[in-house]
Amino acid sequence: MERSRKQESSRKGGLYILWEYKLPYLFLLPSVILLIFFLAAPLVSGIYMSFQKISLRGISEFVGFRNYRLLLGEARFRNNLLFSVLYVAGNVGLSVPLAYAAALLITGKLRGIQFFRAIFLIPFIVTPVVSAILFRSMVNPSFGPITALLEMITGKHYIILADSTLAMLTIIGHSFWRSFSFIMLFLAAGIATIPTELYEAGKVDGAGAWARFSHITFPLTKIHLTIVLLIITMWTLQDAETVYALTQGGPGYSTEVTAVRLFKDAFINFNLSYGATIGVFLLMMSAVFMIFYFKLMGGAEHY
C-alpha cells in the first residue's frame, strides 16, 4: 500500500509531494528561512563582493575576475594556499592518530584513567589566543623553556620563530595541542557505543587485540573519524587567531596561512574585496577537503 503511494507520488512530481506532506515541510520552513538568512545570504553576498572593487568609502564597482587574477598571480597568495594545506595536513596527521590511541586508552579499563581524562581536557578549556601567547613565551629566544631544552639537547641556540620551518612546526604543534583533547573525547564517545558483545564474540573466535581493532573498533568508528576529520580540518583551515597571535604570519610570509591573509587584508588593511575573494578560496578548499574525506571514508555510513 505504502509502496504504491510512493510510486504514485514520484510519478506526479515534486509539487505533489510538497502538497501531500505539507505539514512536515511547514515545520521545516522556519529552519529553512533561518538557514537562507544566516548562511546562504552571507555566502552569496561574499561571493558577490569578490567580483567587486570596494573603495574605503564603500563605493563598489564590478571588476569581474580581477581580484582572483591578481591573487592567483601573486607568489605570496599561492604560498598562502600551500601553507594552509601544510598546516591542515600537519595538524590532522599528528593529532588524529595520537588522539585515536589516547581514546582507546581512556575507554579501556586501565588504572588511573580518571586522571588522564582530566589531564587531556586541559588544552580544550584554555582560550585559543591565551594558549598561543603562552606558546610564544615558551619559544622565546631568551627565556623560553622549549628554546632552552633544544639548546641543551643540540648545543645550538635557536630562534624558533625566526626560522621558517620551526615557526611552521610551532603553529602545527600548538594546533595539535589544542585539537588533541577534542578529537580524543569525540572518538572515545564513539568507541564507547560499540557493544561489548562484539568483542566477546571476537575473543571466542580467537581474534587477537589487533584483529579486534581492525575488524570491530576501526570499522565501527569510521563515521566518527570522518566527522572529526572534517571538524578539525575546518577549524585548522579557518584558524587565523592563534597563528596571528603566535607568528603574525612571519617570518616573512612563511606561516601566513590563507585565514591569516584574509584577516590581514579584510580586517587590518580593510581591503574588503580581497578579503571576500580569499574567503571564496577558503570555501573552495573546505569543499575539496570535505569531498576528499568522504571519498576516503567511503562506505562508513554502512556500519
Binding site: 574605503l56 612571519g250 616573512g252
Partner: protein
C-alpha cells in the same frame, strides 16, 4: 453635573501634565552628555602604558569637573588597530566620539570619511593659540582630521655608563652611518667569554609590525636619498638603488657585523626594544620613542626628565639624533580626532580643546616633544636631553601620504624578514615584493 465633572477631569489632567513637564524639563537639561574616548593604553603592556593611563585618569576627571554636563567613558583598542576600528565601525554605523589616531593613517581616513573635519572648530581659536600649535611638523599631516598631541621624533638611546666603561667619551656619539657601525662593533661584547654576545652594540627591531618600516627602513632609505613610495607615480619605490643600500646596511648589522641580534625579527617592539634595553642587553638602541622616558625615569637611568624638570639629567641612558642625514628622522605623533558618527561633536571638541593646553600636555608621557610652541620656553625643557630631541624633531619626516600605507608597511616588514632571516638576495627580493605591492595598489 456631567459638564462640571468633565471640566474637573480636564483641569486635573492639564495640571498633572504641567507638573510632570516642569519636573522633566530640568531633569532632562541636567542629564549629562556622555562622550566616549577611545585610547590604546593597556596596563598589561608595561610601565609606559601605565603612566599614560594614570595621566588619562587625572586629566578626564579634571575635564568633567570643569564641564559638569559632560561625562567621559573610555573605550580601548590596540594601538595599531585603533584607526582601522574607526573605519570599520563607521562602515557598520557604530558611533564613537573622541578617538586617538595616527598621521600615517590619515589618507585612509580621508578616503573613508570616518573623521570629522575640525577646521570650523580650530577656526574659533584665537590667532595666538592657533600659531602655538600649527608650527609642528606633524600638524600638516593630521589637520584637519585630527589635532596632534606631541611631536614624536625617534632618536637613538645609549648607555653612558657602558661608553665610559669601554673607554669611550659619553659626550661624543656617532654622527654618520660609518661611525655608527664602528661604535656598534666596538660596543658588542661577550662579557663572560662563553662565546655568546651579552651586550649588543646596536639594538633594532624587524618584526611584523609598522615599526619596522618607520624606524628601521625609512630613515636609511631617506639617508640614501630614496623614497618608499613615489607620490607622482603613486607606486612603491623601495627597491630602488637607495632601497638596496638601506637594506644592505641593516643586513650587515645583523648578519655581517653581528652587532644587532637575529632575534630582533621576532616578538613585539616592546619586548625586543624597551624591555631588553632596560635589562641591559644593548649599548645603543635605535628607535627610542617618547614612551621610553617614563620607564627610564622609573629605572633611575634619567632623573628629572619625566616629568621634565629644569635640573633634569640623563645619568645612565642618554639620546642622540639618529646618525642619518638631516631630514631622515621618522616623525609622527598621536592625534585626537572626532568620529563622524559622533552624536556629540561639540562636547567632543571641548575635550580635545581641554587636553591640548600647556597645562595638560606638559606631563603627557606619550607626547614626546611638546606640540605647543609656548611649552618650549619653559625652563624644564631647556635641558640637554630635550634640546637634543628638539634637534631630532627639526629633522623629522613623515611616512608617505598613501591610503595603502598599512599594506606598504606589511610588505616592507615581510621583505626585510625574508632577507635578514633567509638571507635571500637583496635586489631580487626587494623587487619581488615591490612588484607584488604595485600590482595591486599602483596608481591608487
Amino acid at each position: 453635573m456631567e459638564k462640571i465633572f468633565k471640566k474637573r477631569v480636564i483641569i486635573t489632567v492639564l495640571a498633572v501634565g504641567l507638573i510632570m513637564w516642569m519636573g522633566l524639563v530640568p531633569s532632562l537639561a541636567q542629564k549629562p552628555v556622555t562622550i566616549k574616548f577611545a585610547h590604546f593604553y593597556d596596563p598589561a603592556a608595561g610601565a609606559g602604558h601605565v603612566m599614560n593611563i594614570e595621566w588619562l585618569e587625572k586629566t578626564i576627571p579634571a575635564f568633567e569637573k570643569e564641564n559638569p554636563g559632560i561625562k567621559v567613558e573610555f573605550e580601548w583598542t590596540k594601538w595599531d588597530e585603533i584607526d582601522i576600528r574607526s573605519i570599520r565601525d563607521y562602515a557598520a554605523g557604530i558611533p564613537h566620539d573622541v578617538m586617538m589616531s595616527s598621521p600615517q593613517l590619515m589618507p585612509k581616513h580621508f578616503i573613508a570619511g570616518d573623521y570629522l573635519d575640525l577646521t570650523s572648530y580650530a577656526a574659533k581659536w584665537p590667532k595666538a593659540r592657533a600659531e602655538d600649535i600649527n608650527w609642528t611638523p606633524v600638524w600638516g599631516k593630521v589637520f584637519p582630521l585630527g589635532i596632534p598631541l606631541g611631536i614624536h621624533t625617534r632618536t637613538t638611546v645609549y648607555r653612558r655608563d657602558l661608553f665610559e666603561k669601554y673607554g669611550l667619551d659619553p659626550g661624543r656619539t656617532p654622527e654618520d652611518l660609518e661611525s655608527l657601525v664602528k661604535y656598534s662593533r666596538f660596543l658588542t661584547r661577550d662579557t663572560n667569554a662563553d662565546g655568546k654576545t651579552d651586550i649588543w652594540g646596536l639594538g633594532m627591531y624587524f618584526g611584523a609590525s609598522r615599526a619596522t618600516i618607520e624606524l628601521y627602513f625609512a630613515p636609511y632609505i631617506w639617508n640614501f636619498d630614496g623614497k618608499l613610495w613615489d607620490p607622482e607615480t603613486k607606486r612603491a619605490s623601495f627597491a630602488s638603488e637607495a632601497g638596496v643600500k638601506a637594506t644592505r646596511f641593516v643586513y650587515d648589522l645583523v648578519n655581517t657585523y653581528k652587532v644587532t641580534p637575529e632575534w630582533a625579527t621576532v616578538g613585539t617592539y616592546d619586548e625586543v626594544g624597551l624591555i631588553n634595553f632596560l635589562n641591559g642587553t644593548y649599548a645603543m638602541f635605535t628607535g627610542f620613542g617618547s614612551y621610553w622616558i617614563g620607564p627610564l625615569e622609573e629605572k633611575g637611568w634619567v632623573t628629572g626628565i619625566f616629568p621634565p624638570k629644569s635640573w633634569g639629567k640623563a645619568t645612565v641612558a642618554d639620546v642622540f639624533v639618529a646618525a642619518t642625514k638631516p631630514h631622515a628622522q621618522f616623525t609622527n605623533a598621536w592625534a585626537l580626532s572626532i568620529n563622524k558618527l559622533s552624536e556629540h561633536p561639540d562636547e567632543s571638541f571641548k575635550l580635545i580643546d581641554f587636553i591640548v593646553t600647556p597645562e595638560r600636555l606638559i606631563d603627557y608621557p606619550d607626547a614626546g616633544l611638546p606640540t605647543l610652541l609656548s611649552l618650549w620656553d619653559k625652563p624644564e625643557l631647556q635641558t640637554d636631553f630635550y634640546q637634543e630631541w628638539l634637534k631630532a624633531a627639526a629633522h623629522g619626516k613623515s611616512m608617505p601620504y598613501t591610503a595603502h600605507y598599512g599594506e606598504l608597511a606589511d610588505t616592507v616588514a615581510a621583505c626585510l624578514q625574508e632577507i635578514l632571516i633567509k638571507k635571500a638576495p637583496i635586489e631580487a627580493t626587494l623587487k619581488k615584493f615591490e612588484d607584488e605591492y604595485n600590482a595591486k595598489y599602483a596608481g591608487e
